[in-house]
């Protein structure tokens, strides 16, 4: 129920998300909408030597999407892009450590989808 999803660690990340900023130095960015709620997330990436050197996200969203973006951006910093491309829904859910209902899956996965979009967008 409530306490299962709105756990302290999720609310903390929502209030104080990591990597929520604008990068001055980046070589790819990508925005994606969640048409269900109208939220937009923007990811900026600095890729050097096939690794995520720096990453940020911006945009308003619900606690789940913000916590997911915070956790995910933290996890993939310094990760080889090949490895990032292989991240799955299960990886995101493992990071969140909360039960996600069908309707909220879009919120939880918006950051990963946007990051993958940014990776395809490199150099564009």
């Amino acid at each position: 129920m409530i306490m299962e999803i709105y756990k302290e660690h999720i609310l903390d990340l929502y209030k104080n998300p990591k990597n929520k900023k604008i990068l001055n130095n980046f070589n790819s960015e990508f925005s994606k909408n969640n048409p269900l709620c109208g939220d937009t997330m923007k990811i900026q990436l600095l890729i050097q030597k096939d690794r995520i050197k720096d990453i940020s996200f911006t945009g308003d969203g619900c606690a789940i999407s913000q916590a997911s973006a915070s956790l995910l951006t933290d996890k993939i910093k310094n990760m080889p892009i090949k490895q990032v491309k292989n991240l799955t829904k299960e990886d995101v859910l493992e990071l969140l450590r909360i039960p996600i209902s069908y309707a909220r899956l879009n919120c939880a996965l918006l950051p990963l989808d946007t990051i993958k979009g940014a990776l395809e967008n490199v150099g564009n």
Partner: protein
């Protein structure tokens, strides 16, 4: 306040804890509508307008009887009622067939800032296809239409105005009569989206003198899968059919077809007769209660809810206030995302809608008009089966949400 209507709706017997505050998305159905479906499939099922046998003739009679019931319900003639699959199809039908009715000197369409995507996208396509210009009547700070601006926007180039009677987000009841008279002075056609109005108050198309009116069954306690398009007969006669096929024709040869008169030329293929017939029962139900009682109950609840909600700290309500609104209240709790609010409310068995409500341009506009950042809003919408207890539970849960988020 004892609720006399709730017992008529089986869902509340099966889910006694349910606090259903999403009737603007779809209403619940009374037992007589659910029973009508079962009864039809078990005892009366046959295709309409096809068979020469009794079962098919009776099904046809019952289907056509509902057409008459709807005509009577909105004060039109039966041959001015077209069944569609939903309100959206009604607008698409119009946008695909109305061009024939527009004189050459007209190339503008006037909509409003509060239209549902269903009454926006078909006209966007129309405007692109025929190089028409779309114009939008803006809102005032009190979430009403700006009628002075409407007067400026509707001019001799206006081919038609298409507007919602009641906003699905703001609850605002628009002054349809005023907009229609503005359109009439410029010889512009008038189209009303009554999807959020038909269940709340009496609509009289003759008195309104609108050219077209669109609504759907599932928001007025009828089954899903049925919409209604009303059109003035003299206009429907001049319009080409939208979808074509079986049931629409008088005669066909390999090269050409002669179509039937309206409404049948607009009802192609096997129709959703079982649901149409059950819609007849929802109309019986609404008429049996009467709009005076429905309005009394709904406005009492609405005013109670509005008063209680206004007292919540940091709430932003997007509604023009009592006597100007249907029982629909959209709101935000400062900085808490609507999805999070709806999610927590769900844990209290409270169903509300959260998001952009198929009104993305309007929600963006609210961000400008309102004081909080808006990527969506929460909406509580009421119907006759709601109670003050439902509202009290909503208030408690909203306060709990603020607690969880440490506000």
């Amino acid at each position: 306040m004892k609720n006399k209507f709730k017992k008529d709706f089986p869902i509340f017997k099966n889910l006694p804890k349910l606090v259903y505050l999403d009737s603007a998305a779809t209403s619940q159905r009374p037992k007589i509508v659910v029973d009508a479906l079962k009864n039809f499939y078990e005892k009366e099922n046959a295709n309409i307008h096809r068979g020469i046998y009794t079962l098919s003739e009776d099904a046809t009679k019952n289907y056509e009887l509902v057409r008459k019931k709807i005509a009577n319900f909105i004060n039109s003639n039966a041959d001015e009622i077209i069944f569609t699959k939903n309100a959206t199809e009604g607008f698409n039908l119009l946008a695909n067939t109305i061009k024939e009715l527009i004189s050459k000197d007209k190339n503008e369409i006037v909509l409003t800032d509060m239209e549902h995507h269903s009454n926006l996208l078909p006209w966007q396509n129309f405007a692109k296809k025929y190089k028409f210009k779309l114009k939008f009547i803006p809102l005032t700070k009190n979430y009403e239409l700006d009628y002075d601006k409407a007067k400026e926007l509707i001019n001799k180039k206006t081919a038609m105005i298409s507007f919602t009677f009641v906003s699905n987000v703001l609850g605002t009841i628009n002054d349809a009569q005023k907009l229609i008279s503005l359109a009439n002075t410029q010889k512009a056609m008038t189209i009303i989206d009554a999807s959020q109005a038909i269940q709340h108050f009496k609509i009289n198309v003759k008195k309104l003198n609108c050219d077209f009116l669109v609504f759907s069954s599932h928001k007025m306690m009828g089954p899903t899968g049925v919409g209604v398009l009303y059109g003035k007969k003299k206009l429907l006669e001049k319009m080409p059919p939208f979808l074509v096929g079986g049931g629409t024709i008088d005669s066909v040869d390999y090269e050409n077809a002669v179509y039937l008169d309206p409404p049948r030329k607009f009802e192609a293929g096997t129709q959703n007769f079982a649901d149409v017939i059950a819609l007849g029962n929802s109309i019986d139900y609404l008429k049996q209660i009467g709009f005076d009682k429905i309005q009394k109950h709904e406005s009492e609840l609405f005013e109670y809810a509005l008063e209680k909600m206004q007292k919540i700290k940091d709430i932003k309500i997007y509604n023009p206030g009592k006597n100007k609104s249907a029982p629909v209240i959209s709101f935000n709790l400062q900085d808490i995302h609507p999805h999070d609010i709806a999610h927590i409310l769900n844990d209290y068995n409270i169903a509300i809608r959260a998001g952009h409500h198929c009104c993305m341009p309007l929600i963006k506009k609210l961000g400008i008009l309102g004081t909080c950042k808006v990527s969506g809003v929460c909406r509580a919408s009421l119907s006759i089966y709601n109670t003050k207890e439902d509202i009290n539970k909503l208030i408690t849960a909203l306060k709990k949400t603020q607690e969880i988020f440490g506000k």
